[in-house]
Amino acid sequence: MSTSEIDRQWTTRLRRRALEKLPPEKTLPDSQPSYVSSWIYVFGVTTISALIVVIATGCVLALRGPTWWHGSSIGHFVNSLHLWSVEIFFFAMVIHLWGKYFMAAWRGGRAMTWITGMVLFLVSIVTALTGYVSQSNFDSQWISTQAKDAINASGGGAYFNLLNFGQMLMWHIVLLPLVLVFLVAVHVVLVRIKGVVPPFEEDAGQQSAGASHE
């Protein structure tokens, strides 16, 4: 096989492109700009950590089926872990979001990072809703019968029926987690490619001639 033939391979081109955009020192950095020095920066990794706990506890609940936790003290405890990791997940995510807002973290060609983060927040809300209505308890009954009106009013209720336990459970444990994990991966890769947004340069006369832009 000639070198030029190898160069033309999809695999070769993808690998080179990936390494060009995301070299190892960006993927797993060992240093970061000195302005990255605030507690606000921990909420991104906290969000991902909470998501890992959410998924892990959800997997344990899935092992024994959707109604196991009602009749088992162990199951109930795992459900509690699932609930509280979700609360931590949203708490950290909201602080992360507003922290990034006040940093105007979309600057310097980072608009897609911001947008994927926002979409992640929205998908997380829908995932949480499907979780609430899949609990198979009083909360599920109340939340599904009330929330259906807004979904129906949008026309979406015909296809996304909150009263259909089987449909909601599948969305909650299969479809939406797949979307979430994919979006998290894209978001993190974008963060690694673009790096953390630098502070505002308050002295206009010191603006760098090499500033990055969209």
Binding site: Q32, P33, L163, G166
Partner: protein, 316 residues
């Protein structure tokens, strides 16, 4: 890029300052351990709510008159479900509208519910043979629509004085045809649990679709009474609450807020108005990088100085 073309809310200065050591794997591991421990701590201390689901059996035993009244509303077409419109039925002018947009009407009836037949008549047909009920259902089937309407109207008129005595629904109705026996036998059916099963399974052995059961239950007053005790009603900020003293969906606070104020809380189109408002606000936040003026708020409010205070202190 020239200094002249630098847009401070779009562009970022290139960092030419120093770097600090950063162990991303160590940070991630510590975060995961801390979050896991915090999750365990919160779970041990607070647990999680699990109020059991109500059933049609438990509802009809706890509040038989409420159940029988609801069953009647399914029969006379006044229940929420019977008059809902799309996606359940073709009730005229029932769909919520956003100006000229009636999205649910455009999508149409995709989950057809015929409240009278699905919630009352058809379940009664699944019961073992009973002479009075069998004859009543036969009369119901053979009667004209106007006759049925007259029977139901006469029963409805007398139902204000409905009582439940000795396991029987008592209504002093005259010329109501088979309606008294239908409502009474449906209530008995509900109280022994057979209606739960009839509404769930339909013609299938397996089912995971509770649409009919939940719609029927939510048409009654019992579910709402229980929800009110747990502060779950819309006017109680219930969209973001859950049973017990738990944080619930605190992230829905703004969505819930709109349900507390006019015109959202007084409009017949409240749900779609709140949803549309939230979609608009969320789209604005999502597209913030492209919105001149709004994207300048972070720079102009200078909250970033708190975040990067060390950076600015070192520069001063």
């Amino acid at each position: 890029m020239s200094k002249k073309n630098f847009r401070p809310d779009v562009d970022a200065p290139e960092w030419r300052g120093g770097h600090s050591p950063y162990d991303i794997l160590k940070e991630g591991t510590i975060a995961l351990v801390v979050v896991s421990l915090l999750t365990v701590l919160l779970s041990v201390v607070f647990g999680s709510p699990d109020d059991p689901a109500i059933t049609i059996k438990s509802w009809s035993n706890a509040a038989p008159v409420d159940f029988a009244t609801t069953a009647l509303s399914e029969l006379n077409g006044t229940s929420t479900t019977a008059s809902y419109g799309a996606p359940y039925n073709h009730t005229p002018d029932a769909s919520q509208a956003l100006g000229p947009l009636t999205l649910e009407k455009w999508v149409g009836v995709r989950i057809p519910i015929d409240a009278a037949n699905d919630f009352v008549v058809n379940p009664l047909r699944t019961l073992p043979y009973q002479t009075a009920l069998h004859q009543g259902l036969a009369n119901w089937s053979s009667a004209s629509t106007s006759t049925r309407t007259k029977w139901v109207a006469n029963y409805t008129k007398a139902s204000a004085g409905m009582k439940f005595n000795g396991g029987q629904v008592v209504v002093n109705a005259t010329n109501a045809g088979p309606v008294p026996v239908m409502i009474n036998d449906l209530t008995k059916m509900a109280r022994n649990g057979a209606l739960d099963q009839a509404l769930l399974t339909g013609n299938s052995f397996y089912s995971t679709d509770y649409t009919q059961s939940l719609l029927f239950i939510s048409d009654g007053g019992y579910l709402g009474q229980l929800a009110a005790k747990d502060h779950l009603l819309g006017e109680q900020w219930g969209v973001m609450n859950e049973t017990g003293s738990y944080p619930g969906s605190a992230w829905l606070w703004l969505y819930t807020f709109f349900y507390q104020i006019s015109p959202y809380n007084s409009s017949g189109n409240g749900d779609i108005l709140v949803l549309a408002t939230m979609i608009l606000l969320t789209a604005g936040l999502t597209l913030m990088p492209f919105l001149p003026g709004l994207r300048s708020i972070p720079r102009k409010t200078r909250v970033y100085r708190l975040i990067w205070r060390e950076h600015y202190r070192n520069r001063e």
